[in-house]
Amino acid sequence: MKIAVCVKQVPEGTSLKLDPGTKRLDRSGEGALNHFDANAVEEALRLKESAGDAEVVVVSVGPAGAADALRKALAMGADRALLVSDDAVAGSDLVATSRVLAAALEREGADLVLFGQQASDSDGAVLWAAVADRLRRPLVSQAAELSVADGSLRAKRQTEFGYDVIQAALPAIVAVSDAINEPRYPSLKGIMGAKKKPQETLTLGDLGVDVGQVGEAGSKTEVYEFSLPPSRGDSRKIEDDGKAAEQIVEFLAEKRLV
């Protein structure tokens, strides 16, 4: 079995901001593996461990720096990495990104393609459905449990109404929730070994994707302007120095809540 895991490099921690010039996310700072994607990598590794014989390839569309995120996934235990990196891809929206990612996945021809719950910078939780449509493969999203047996998968998902169980024959696409597992930390051996694992970088040309169909040219949405949200009045933040419980009670008393 071959499992492809789609992962994204996102700006680290709290430095999320928009670049006023390009109106795109400022990606100049440090980047990290989108933590929701670590759940997808972990799930792939667990499926591999229980299947005995499987290959896990991590796939990303992004700037050259996204190789760091891929290396983290390799250090966790993935076998191989594929990065699609091309200046023309910058500024791609859902339509354009899904086109590039689908082209890369088409080339891989995996039995199972896994996604994380959402990219922490876009909060979209949408990319998989666009990719599934382009690849013409069955899709299950929000999977909180996943098992694969006899060429088909079974997943449990939570919706607004409770839990569903869905089954699909492979090849198929699954987006996992962040509750599906607890991602492992890369071991020192894993980190050392990651450098020696195959890491391939492709351009749009390698995938046969036309540059006019990606980036801003290929995108169907645009950003006009941005503004700051209204500030939240008198909100307070305190650091616990041993007196937090007392301070909370004082606050609640002031608001007549105790």
Partner: protein
């Protein structure tokens, strides 16, 4: 301007969120507003949409659409949009609607803006309002070309009725792709049994997240809730992990609560959680990560460990309330 609104239903009820989006579409002025209902045995639901502003309702009624799965719905919507030239398609966010909207985006090469909290019509163009980056910035977004696909954040609009009368109802014949029917529903969610007081009615909700560290640690939330005379809530992460029952979940796929006091223990404050509790009167959060998004919308944010703070807090509240 023509707008098609995707009306999701559960059982024999149209979803309020979708009706809210329909009412919003109808309020945009000189728009041709139609709605679409897809499912099995859903025809009787169509007429209700008239009261929320749909002049016309398309009904795709077929056993193949019984299960709430996205891919067959993409097939039906794509054909509707192509046949009738709808310029916009609006969706109220849900697990199902998000997958339908994104699938349709790829199928039609049509732009999708998500997590919108509002939309306005300006010179024949639509401009969406989107809080982004953990709601730290509000972005005005638009579409290049048609169809314009818009996915609205839960709870953005009230389902207000209009004078609209009986809508014109049109049956649509469906043609489904083979791959769209490959995923099968094995077991479908049923209305959860509600026992005990609902968190929606409580004046105080003490909610726990993964930061509590273990199912056992939920006793911290329970003790504090008891002391405050409130109910216990939970995040999806801990419900999915089996730490707490689904009936107590707060958020997009759980309950929407607006108590006088909401106490968040070890909760990061993801958007999907926020939409379920942001209208609480007073929000207090305890989280050990000073950068947790929850602090952005808390009246009192406490950077610290729930395990040391909460037992003390519960004692102090008990003393104060003399119990």
């Amino acid at each position: 301007m023509s707008i098609l609104v995707f009306l999701e239903h559960h059982g024999d009820e149209l979803q309020k969120g979708a009706l809210g989006v329909l009412a919003k579409a109808a309020s945009l002025g000189d728009a041709d507003v139609a709605a679409v209902v897809l499912g099995s045995g859903v025809k009787p639901l169509a007429s209700e949409a008239g009261r929320f502003g749909a002049a016309k309702v398309f009904v795709a009624d077929d056993a193949a659409l019984e299960a709430p799965l996205p891919q067959p719905r993409v097939d039906v919507l794509a054909k509707l949009v192509r046949d009738h030239g709808f310029e916009s398609v609006f969706f109220a966010n849900s697990v199902l609607a998000a997958d339908v909207a994104a699938g349709l985006s790829a199928r039609l090469d049509a732009g999708l803006n998500w997590d919108l909290t509002d939309v306005v019509a300006q010179d024949g163009k639509l401009v969406g309002k989107r809080p982004a980056l953990q709601d730290s910035v509000y972005v005005d977004v638009g579409w290049k070309g048609t169809a314009r696909l818009a996915l609205f954040r839960s709870g953005s609009f009230d389902a207000t009725t209009t004078q609209g009368g009986e809508p014109q109802v049109e049956d649509v014949a469906i043609e489904l792709e083979e791959f769209s029917q490959a995923a099968k529903m094995v077991e479908q969610a049923h209305e959860a049994d509600e026992s005990g007081p609902s968190i929606e009615d409580a004046d105080v909700v003490v909610a726990g997240g993964r930061g509590l560290g273990s199912p056992e640690a939920f006793s911290l939330a329970e003790d504090l809730a008891r002391a405050l005379g409130g109910a216990v809530g939970a995040t999806r992460a801990v419900v999915d992990a089996g730490w707490y029952p689904y009936s107590q979940q707060v958020g997009q796929t759980g309950k929407v609560v607006s108590p006088k006091l909401y106490v968040a223990l070890g909760i990061s404050g993801a958007i999907q959680h926020k939409v379920g509790m942001q209208s609480s009167n007073v929000i207090v959060a305890i989280n050990k990560d000073p950068n947790a998004p929850i602090f952005e919308f808390s009246d009192l944010g406490v950077v610290g460990d729930v395990h040391t703070i909460v037992p003390k807090l519960t004692e102090l509240v008990k003393q104060r309330r003399g119990s």
